[in-house]
Symmetry: C2
Subunit: 247 residues, 2 copies
DNA sequence: AACACAAAGTCTTCTATAAGAGTTATAAGA
DNA sequence: TCTTATAACTCTTATAGAAGACTTTGTGTT
């Protein structure tokens, strides 16, 4: 046996290139293929799967389009991770008033560990007894308080996170998830509503009581669809807007 | 000369398949290739452009991914237009409270013709003297007043629209734009903010004065990026939510 | 001997072409 | 109605050269 052959595309599942795609997806989801080193070359993968190189290529191209892997000519194909290369705005859809996309800064208000609530358990598909870490922070955009954020993380996916000092949290959390806990956020679903400012919003965002604000409820997922983060952002949209491109 | 040969891919512009793509895009934007009949077959296009069939295929595949054309095995490739085939929810991102995607019904309040305002002219890149048609309507979702919509259309793109009776307007306007005026909306950009309900919202949506609502400002564009519609939707989000998938 | 730099070689992805087998839809004919 | 033919797209494989990135080797200098 030339290699450990864990995942062969099953026969009769549809197009070959899609079977290859699924096999690769499973491998990546299982955590083989560290983000620091390239996947096996197209040739190698083709040999492993017993298909032509072009078929592997088609699978990889499709995955690259979905931002699951990133391909560098001459270097190889890598699992698409968070880092300097990646588009930082992919998961940040707030636009400053001047129409420019800017990254916010963050100040952590609190970080606590506790039992999950019922709605949280539902959103993250956790058991009612599960424990979570709750992070609360204020984010500034263009030196103006703009976002009040509540982040809920399953404790079992992020062991030891609750013990960190709140000053140790970086601005870009997804980078942290990836580097410290090998959790890679690949996609997210957001539900957006309008709400009236409550006491918390008044104190931390400086809004008037009852002022309209944008509520963004995000569930971030890994490659295989496992929800790993629930994030509720409350935004003062007097100087910014959420944007969405319908292509 | 075998055909009218308007657009040849220029030499040295980058990958061949992309030159073909651009050439086809120009053709479609110019309004050749009616939506009712297929584009020339891959073979024909390959012959026209002097490239291999696989190269044309790659260009078309890319365009199909971007929802610019739609491919039917055995029938041909068509300009992707609005109609029964097309995903009706592509341009409607509101989610009912139960999590289901439903289409709203519409009741037109008014339809008037007037001079463009300054902000409208900016958004639609019109001259300050241009005339527009303004449509105002209320949309119900699950038999509940949910959206107050203001639609601004450049008069020169939609000649004679202002003369229509307001009862003649269909629920799905993009279908009308396409069938009556040969204007195909291919993409849209939305900016979303939270606002307080004003007098209009109170009367038409039954909201309390100052209640928070979701404001969606959409600019719809044709293939070549020409803005053709400005639409401002004011939504009561007590029973629905805007959703966005970050893939 | 140690270092700097250029050339050569190798690995990888990217582009282009070609060809054959399979699937789907439409139209013509029995 | 059923069958057949045809046209079109789909899938897979194969090959070959171009282009980018990295490593090794060779050369010359210090």
């Amino acid at each position: 046996m030339p290699e450990t052959w864990v995942d062969r595309p099953r026969s009769g599942d549809g197009p070959l290139y899609r079977q290859v795609r699924e096999a690769l997806l499973r491998e990546i989801a299982q955590g083989r293929h560290p983000v620091t080193e390239p996947l096996p070359s197209e040739q190698k993968l083709a040999a492993r799967f017993g298909v032509a190189q072009g078929t592997v290529r088609r699978a990889l191209d499709e995955m690259a389009r979905e931002n699951l892997v990133i391909r560098h000519q001459g270097r190889g194909t890598f699992v698409h991770a968070h880092g300097p290369d990646r588009d930082r705005f992919h998961f940040f859809h707030l636009l400053a008033a001047d129409g420019e996309r800017r990254l916010p800064t963050s100040r952590v208000l609190s970080m606590t560990q506790r039992r999950v609530t019922q709605t949280e358990a539902l959103a993250l598909s956790l058991s009612p007894q599960a424990r979570v870490v709750e992070i609360k922070r204020v984010r500034d955009l263009m030196a103006r308080r703009a976002i009040l954020e509540l982040i809920i993380l399953p404790d079992d996916l992020f062991p030891g996170l609750g013990d960190l000092n709140k000053t140790q949290l970086p601005n870009t959390l997804y980078q942290l998830y990836q580097d410290r806990f090998a959790v890679i956020v690949h996609r997210a679903v957001e539900k957006i509503t309008a709400e009236a400012a409550g006491p918390d919003d008044v104190t931390h965002l400086g809004l008037d009581r009852g002022a309209p604000l944008l509520r963004i409820e995000r569930i971030a997922q890994t490659l295989d669809g496992t929800p790993v983060e629930l994030r509720i952002s409350r935004c003062d949209t007097t100087h910014l807007a959420y944007f969405s491109d319908l292509l």
